[in-house]
């Protein structure tokens, strides 16, 4: 009896040591990840001189001294933030909507359907992953500059200074197609075969069977695509000669003058990080589920 109680006490101590160590480790890891965000937020409240002086010490993470929202006001005055934010969110949202539909359909074709040569076609698509965008940006610019369009000024040649020049080239991408293909391949064939026996068309199977059970992969694709589109810099810079079409990331450069306005940059970055955090938190559960089940990492 006494021995049993002793064992229980020892187990209890080990358990608590384990818990404390585990949480300490998790806390350290969490702090490492969250420190840049804290630095950004705290710095956004400080005047430049204080921000620069604090940046080499732990005081950088402490909101003290002459703190205010002046940097936010100055940042909003310097950059047409509402317009840039709208552009980024609009371009990202529209691209995302088209991407999820088209790439999942492509993934369905590669992962579920059987047709001759599909592995070769998929291999060719996946091979494009090794080509950096910077390599094709110039030829792509020359192509879009020759494409016809009907805009506010009527018919004209060239897509520069439009929203669709920032959307169309990015709707279909190899990584998202590959992601859907892999996920759909692992789905149980019985469900699809049962639907076929019930007389469902392939499109009905996609819409009624596959999509409803593929939440995690849609969430993963959505988050990764959202980040890629929201962080676009080079292409919008090349194709948006007018300020009214520029996204938030190009706006960051507005702060790099002869004397860099660091506090304003931090305020601007804090503000434009909000949509990313909101979007991630919204899809967090499904994203983690997808990573846990498929091992896909962003």
């Amino acid at each position: 009896m006494a021995g049993g109680m002793k064992t229980k006490t020892v187990r209890g101590r080990n358990y608590w040591v384990y818990i404390v160590l585990r949480y300490a480790l998790l806390l350290i890891v969490a702090l490492i990840f969250i420190f840049p965000l804290i630095f950004m937020l705290v710095s956004s409240l400080k005047p430049d001189l204080q921000l620069l002086r604090d940046s080499g010490s732990l005081r950088a993470f402490v909101p003290y001294g002459d703190i205010s929202f002046d940097n936010y006001l100055a940042a909003f005055r310097r950059v047409p933030l509402a317009r840039f934010m709208f552009n980024s969110v609009f371009v990202t949202a529209v691209t995302l909507a088209f991407t999820l539909v088209l790439c999942s359909l492509a993934g369905f074709a590669f992962g579920i359907l059987k047709w001759p040569g599909k592995n070769i076609v998929l291999a060719v698509i996946v091979a494009t992953l090794i080509i950096p965008f910077d390599t094709i940006s110039v030829p792509l610019l020359l192509i879009v500059n020759e494409l016809p369009m009907i805009g506010r000024e009527g018919f004209k040649m060239g897509w520069l200074d439009t929203y669709h020049v920032q959307i169309v080239p990015f709707i279909a991408d190899a990584f998202t197609i590959f992601l859907f293909t892999q996920y759909f391949r692992d789905l149980p064939r019985e469900i699809i075969e049962a639907a076929r026996i019930d007389g469902a068309s392939w499109l009905q199977i996609y819409r009624r069977v596959i999509v409803p059970i593929s939440g995690p992969v849609f969430a993963t694709a959505a988050i990764l695509k959202f980040l890629a589109m929201y962080n676009q810099y080079l292409w919008p810079l090349m194709t948006s000669q007018k300020e009214e079409f520029r996204p938030v990331m190009v706006g960051v450069q507005y702060f790099f003058q002869l004397n860099v306005a660091w506090g304003e940059i931090m305020a601007y970055l804090s503000f434009i990080t909000i949509p990313v955090l909101v979007f991630y938190l919204f899809l967090q559960r499904a994203f983690i589920e997808s990573i846990a089940s498929s091992g896909v990492k962003g």
Binding site: R53, S55, R78, Q241, E243, V250, Q253, Y254
Partner: protein, 416 residues
Amino acid sequence: MKRLMALVVVFVSFGMVSAQTELSLWYHGAGNQVERDILVGIIDDFNASQSDWQVVLEEFPQQAYNESIVAAALSGTLPDIIDVDGPVMPNWAWSGYMQPLNLSEASLEGFLPGAIGMWDGEVYSVGLWDAAVAMFARRSVLEANNIRIPSLEEPWSFEEFDAALETLQATGEFDYALDLGMAWTGEWYPYAFSPLLQSFGGDLIDRSSYATAEGFLNGEEAVAFGNWWQSLFDRGLVPGTSQDGADRDTGFIDGKYALQWNGNWAALAALEAFGDELLFLPAPDFGNGSTIGAASWQFGVSANSEHADGANAFIEFALQDKYLAAFTEGIGLIPATASAAAMTENYSEGGPLEVFFELSEAQALIRPPTPGYVVMALVFEKALADIANGADVQDTLDAAVDEINADIENNSGYGF
């Protein structure tokens, strides 16, 4: 009758407005409200001053401006008027992005040489201001250490300057005797440091032919410069390439550095901190005269502008002293003419920054006006950083020369 007259006036006015041909102007200063307001003021004045042209402004952030111009050139959508960084202009002119200016002879009279962009014997660009660097120092620090205060006529000699650095470092009062600004990568390196090389007798390239860097960037004088440069870091007299950007911005004001090699754009903040105690000293003379960099942002006309006459008219209009002075008062840069300087508080006779105008006038040497400069600037930056970090001086400079010469050869001599 009155109504009819009013209608006629409105109609005629409308006709006048709509008769103005639009001229697009791209500018690198997006996000700089002060600069923008001055430029918009000039544009408004120009548009109201005549009935032929209407300038429309499109702004770009400076860090992304060159890429935007190159993309526009590729897609054939360059604007009529562009602004261009002085040392980059020859590359854009050679690449066919720009055409020579057609200004009246009188319009450039009295301009600082660094504000006029020449390529192939013609003026391609002109700036409303220039920039200059100087050695920032505190009078009390120099006097306390018995260091002579140099003048434009009698700058520090090599030995004198080097001894001053050793003396200041030995005081133990400063982290470093001198802050060169190693944290500012990019154009700062060739702009601020190639004049030191030139003062040693070397250069980025042979300026008589622009065909080779052999013997200039790796010759005896250049190696002497490289050895001295490396010794600054070895002896712990200057912060290295890992310098914190924050220290660069505030280190001199905070008293971490005894001297600072910095530009006129940083002068007002230092003046605020030290007042009359602050000195802006000329570059040391390392044996071949004191030299500082020159040429800042300038206006030019794009090659495919169909309205070059209008673009030239705008640029000539913008070159009035009152606008030069307005930019100076607004953003602190050096006005391009003495008459404009006289209209400003800081650069007029007896003004706290007058010395920068004198430095620009007396010591300025533009970076090599060749299309290949954009490549040699990057090569030079890397070589200086490598030498600062301990690379063999001769080997590094030889490799830099090879890279520059290969680029010149690959581009068929850039038209020289």
